[in-house]
Symmetry: none
Subunit: 242 residues, 2 copies
DNA sequence: AAGTGGTCTAGACCACTAC
DNA sequence: TAGTGGTCTAGACCACTTA
C-alpha cells in the first residue's frame, strides 16, 4: 500500500512543504514534477489532488500550484489528518475516563432492512449490541449496533464490553475505513431521559451509520442517541468535483 | 462545464440510481459502462469515484460496484451531501418553493473572534445579515451571517434577500468551494420558538460555518438554527487517502 | 480461470493566465 | 505566444473475489 507511486510522491511533497522547501509558496509545474520523480503526469496529478483535498495546496489553472497560507498558520483548525471513525477514539480523553456499560447482547435474525444494509441473505443472523457510553461516569450516549455473525463469528460478551473496532483491528486484522453517517435531531423520549439523565425539554442528537471494512464490506449498522450537550461534529467540506 | 464527459456519465448514473434502474443494487462493471457510454474506462472511473466519495455507491475490488442502501433512505429536506455548500441549493425543491425573509441587514464593526475567522484587521467592518428561511411558506431556519464589506463592497438589501452565493457567482465571478462547519444541538430558545413555530420541548440543530472562496479567502461566517425536523446531514467519511 | 476494480503510463488536445 | 493545469483516451498490468 505504501509503495504506490502516487503515495510516494504525496508523502515526499508533503514533507517538503512542511520543511518549507518551497519558500515562494509555489510548487513546480506538473510536467517538471513528472520528470523529476520519473513518474507519469497522471500520478503527479493524483498526488496533488489529495493535497488539494486536504486544503494544503491550491491549483490555479493557467498559473500554477500554490501552498495554502492558511494551512501553514492555523494548523489546529484546518488540519484534518488522522480522524477516527471509532467512538472510543473520537473523544479526547485528557485524564478523563471512558466507560461502556453493556445493556444487552443478543443474536437475532436480520430483518429486511438489515439484510439490505449489511448485504445479508434471508435467514442470516446478526448480533444486537446495546451499550451505554459513559464519560467520566456520566452517561452520554445510547448505542445500538448490529453486526453480522458471519463477519465476526466469535464476538464475546467481554469483547463487546470494550472497543469492538480495536478488537477487530488488533485480533482479526480487519480495519474499518469508511462510514456513511446520517445525523438528525429529536426531542428525547422516555428511555433517553432515563438512561441519559435528560429533562423533557432536552433533546438528543441521533447518528445512524453503516461502517465498512477496507474492502467495502458493510460491517455494522449503528444507531446512536447522544445527549445534546455532548454532540459536536466538525467537518471540512470541499466541492471540487460536485 | 456541464459538457464534460465524466460529468455527463455522473449525472446520468445518478439519475438512474434515483430512478431505481438498478433494482439489484448493483451497477454494471466498468468495462461495460465504458462501452455503453462510449467513453474511456478512466472517465467511467472518475464518475464512479465521485459517486463513491458522495457515499452513493461503494466499490468492492474483485466483485463489483454497489449502491449504498442507506443513501436511498433518509432523504429529508436539508441535504448537504457535498453537492453544494449554499443553502438555497441544498434543498430539494421538487415543485416546492423556497423563500427568504430578511430580518435585518446592518453594518457593524468586526469583533475579535470575527477578525480571526475572517482574517480582518482591527477596525474592519462586516455586514450582519439575519434571515429567515422558508420552505413552502414554512419557516425552518434562522440564519445570521457575517461578511466583510471589503470582500463584497456593494451588497444591497435586494441581494441579501436572495441567494448570496448565486449572486457572487453570477455577478462577481467568485465561487465558494470550501467550508468548515461545526454542528450542535440545543433546546430551542424563545426566539427560535417564535420564529420557527416550535414547542418548548422541540429542539434546534445549530450549524456554524466559515465559507471560503476558491482561492482560500474566508468569505463568510454563518450561524444557522434549524427546526429539528428539517435537519438531516449525511456524510461519508473515508480514511483512505490519508 | 474468469471477472472485477486499482494503478499507472504516454500522449493528445483543451482552457485559462500571464506577458 | 508560451506555459500552466484540466480532460480524455487506449491500453497494460496488478490484486482481489468468486466459482
Amino acid at each position: 500500500m505504501a509503495d504506490l507511486v502516487y503515495r510516494r510522491v504525496l508523502h515526499d511533497l508533503k514533507s517538503r512543504i512542511h520543511d518549507n522547501q518551497f519558500p515562494d509558496k509555489r510548487l513546480p509545474d506538473e510536467r517538471s514534477l513528472s520528470e523529476a520523480y520519473n513518474v507519469s503526469r497522471s500520478s503527479i496529478k493524483r498526488a496533488l489532488g489529495v493535497l488539494a483535498n486536504q486544503g494544503i495546496i491550491f491549483k490555479k489553472r493557467g498559473s500554477g500550484t500554490f501552498i495554502n497560507p492558511l494551512y501553514m498558520k492555523n494548523q489546529t483548525i484546518f488540519h484534518y489528518e488522522g480522524s477516527n471513525l471509532g467512538i472510543t477514539d473520537s473523544f479526547k480523553s485528557d485524564g478523563q475516563t471512558q466507560g461502556i456499560k453493556l445493556l444487552s447482547f443478543k443474536v437475532v435474525p436480520a430483518n429486511e432492512e438489515m439484510q439490505q444494509d449489511l448485504f445479508l441473505e434471508k435467514g442470516d443472523f446478526v448480533y444486537e449490541i446495546s451499550r451505554l457510553r459513559l464519560f467520566d461516569d456520566h452517561p452520554f450516549m445510547i448505542e445500538r449496533g448490529f453486526i453480522p455473525i458471519k463477519i465476526a463469528p466469535e464476538l464475546s460478551q467481554k469483547v463487546v464490553s470494550g472497543s469492538i473496532f480495536n478488537y477487530l483491528e488488533d485480533v482479526q486484522n480487519k480495519v474499518v475505513t469508511k462510514s456513511f453517517m446520517t445525523m438528525k435531531v429529536a426531542p428525547s423520549n422516555e428511555e433517553d431521559q432515563e438512561l441519559l439523565g435528560l429533562k423533557p425539554t432536552e433533546p438528543v442528537a441521533i447518528m445512524e451509520g453503516i461502517f465498512f471494512l477496507d474492502d467495502g464490506t458493510p460491517f455494522e449498522v449503528s444507531n446512536m442517541r447522544l445527549r445534546y450537550d455532548y454532540f459536536n461534529y466538525n467537518t471540512f467540506v470541499t466541492l471540487d468535483e460536485e
